[in-house]
């Protein structure tokens, strides 16, 4: 039964991520269309039904699977094949350490809605994210194409630069919550400040939040940080990819977006926490409570988590379709001369405040 629960968690989590990523591919088109006074994808139909172009997800995947799988003659066949897999794998694996719900006692079983409860969860996620870079670099290199290589190099340069900011930013959060375990952080965010304000990361670390979101967006390599791809310039590391191999890179993009949203939610928006909802039900600070069964609480909390993630994804897409691309030098300058000092400043200020408050 334990195993069944574990498998269930994995399946649920995996399908949620993949589902969300898939839906994002549709949303990306539809949302951008509506934003830009267009209609958006609506052509794929089954028996005349179009349902707002949702079938494009299916059409896309059919296309991806059936297209010619192409390896450049000069390219490295093995690395060319492996690269997208690496990228996709490490993007997915990071999710394992992220909790999508609390710990519940249901029918005698203790269910912790987290695939892998690590006390260094955050480090694990970052580690996995760093590993993903290899996928992109190898993809670019194995294509034996100057533009692809350039794209791969840019991707690695950009990701490494922003990972530093990201790591430095998160240190503030770790200091506040005093833990590296993501589940612990979530739990800590359930507490109330001054008795009524949920102690979410965004309130405790507002600068950290902005820096983190920015860095996370940069990590996804999407507009405005899409220099590795640079559609109008170099196409990027996947220029020589087609079929499902390209599909994997393509999906990685969206999975990373989800990951960014998930991490942001977990670190700064209370994770699965719903304000004033506790294991037994709602308990409002101004008095009064509302009893709920455990299952309902669980569903509410998982639902809240999902809603937060979804909303963040939505905002990320908004940003992606609103801002223009940075130039490579601007990107680097932003990363190294603004974000990194700011994140270090954030650590210092956090430390000082903690000292004062702690005393």
């Amino acid at each position: 039964m334990e195993y069944a629960i574990d498998v269930g968690k994995v399946l649920f989590w995996f399908s949620s991520i993949m589902g969300l990523a898939s839906i994002l591919t549709w949303m990306e088109r539809k949302q951008s269309a509506v934003m830009q006074d267009r209609i958006g994808a609506n052509r794929a139909d089954i028996f005349g039904f179009r349902i707002l172009g949702l079938f494009h997800i299916i059409a896309d995947s059919i296309k991806m699977f059936t297209k010619q799988d192409f390896v450049p003659a000069q390219g490295n066949r093995i690395l060319h094949t492996v690269a997208p897999m690496i990228a996709l794998f490490f993007a997915l694996v990071g999710f394992a350490a992220v909790p999508f719900g609390g710990t519940y006692e249901i029918a005698g079983y203790t269910v912790s809605l987290q695939v892998l409860d690590l006390n260094v969860g955050l480090l694990f996620v970052f580690a996995m994210m760093s590993m993903g870079i290899y996928g992109f670099v190898l993809g670019g290199w194995a294509s034996a194409n100057n533009y692809a290589l350039l794209g791969g190099l840019r991707a690695s340069g950009q990701m490494i630069s922003y990972e530093i900011t990201m790591g430095a930013t998160v240190i503030g959060t770790i200091m506040v919550y005093g833990t590296l375990s993501l589940q612990q952080m979530n739990i800590a965010q359930g507490e109330l400040l001054f008795g009524w304000i949920p102690a979410w990361g965004i309130l405790l670390q507002p600068l950290g939040c902005i820096l983190f979101v920015t860095a996370a967006l940069a990590e996804t390599k999407r507009v405005p940080f899409d220099v590795p791809e640079g559609e109008s310039e170099i196409i990027g590391y996947f220029v020589e990819y087609s079929g499902m191999r390209f599909g994997m890179f393509f999906l990685t993009d969206f999975i990373e977006t989800v990951l960014a949203a998930v991490l942001t939610t977990t670190l700064f928006f209370g994770g699965w926490q719903v304000p004033y909802l506790y294991a037994g039900g709602f308990e409002f600070p101004w008095g009064g409570s509302f009893e709920l069964p455990v299952v309902a609480v669980m569903l509410l909390q998982v639902g809240a988590f999902m809603a937060k993630v979804f909303t963040l994804c939505f905002i990320f897409l908004l940003i992606r379709w609103t801002l223009p691309r940075f130039r490579w030098d601007q990107l680097m300058r932003l990363g190294w001369t603004i974000m990194l000092p700011l994140s270090i400043l954030n650590i210092v200020v956090t430390g000082v405040v903690l000292l004062i408050v702690g005393n």
Binding site: Q31, A33, V34, M35, Q36, D37, R38, I39, I210, I315, L318, I319, W321, T322, L323
Partner: protein, 183 residues
Amino acid sequence: MAIKVEEKQLTLLERLYVLEVVRGIALTTGHFFRNMAVHIARLFGLAKDKKGSTTFQYPEERRPLAPRLRTLHRLTRREDGAPRCVACMMCETVCPAHCISIVAGEHPNPLIEKYPTRFDIDLGLCVFCGYCVEACPEDAIRMDTGVLEFTSFSREGMVYDLNKLLARSETPKPNEESKVKTA
């Protein structure tokens, strides 16, 4: 002549960037929700006079063509139905894409003298610059058919010969322009 660009000095707020980003996002978000509202309203049969998009749903809906738009070529005819073209090869000469090829023949009427025995336009090469129309001294070639779709499964199919070009010799009526036309 160099153009001098006056660079606008950014204010501090603008240089802080975050606020501008927020403003930008607010704008696009505004569009998103307004359009979304219209779409939803129309889904329920409301707000028929409004449109959530400014685009045309292409094959079903077509944009009216500008009168000067250069579209598929046609060759005009004389009153007796013969092509007006006298095979002077001005169009062939001026064509930057070298897509026109004409073979001239001797016309039995010495007043016409010359006529095209072959007149091919390779639309696969054509860049639709319209020079041929400008160069024609006889008003024999025009690009006003309003036809924008001409496709073929072969390169040969993109070569339009005399008969094909003469098939649309009559002047298109203006009100037909927006109607569906396919090659």
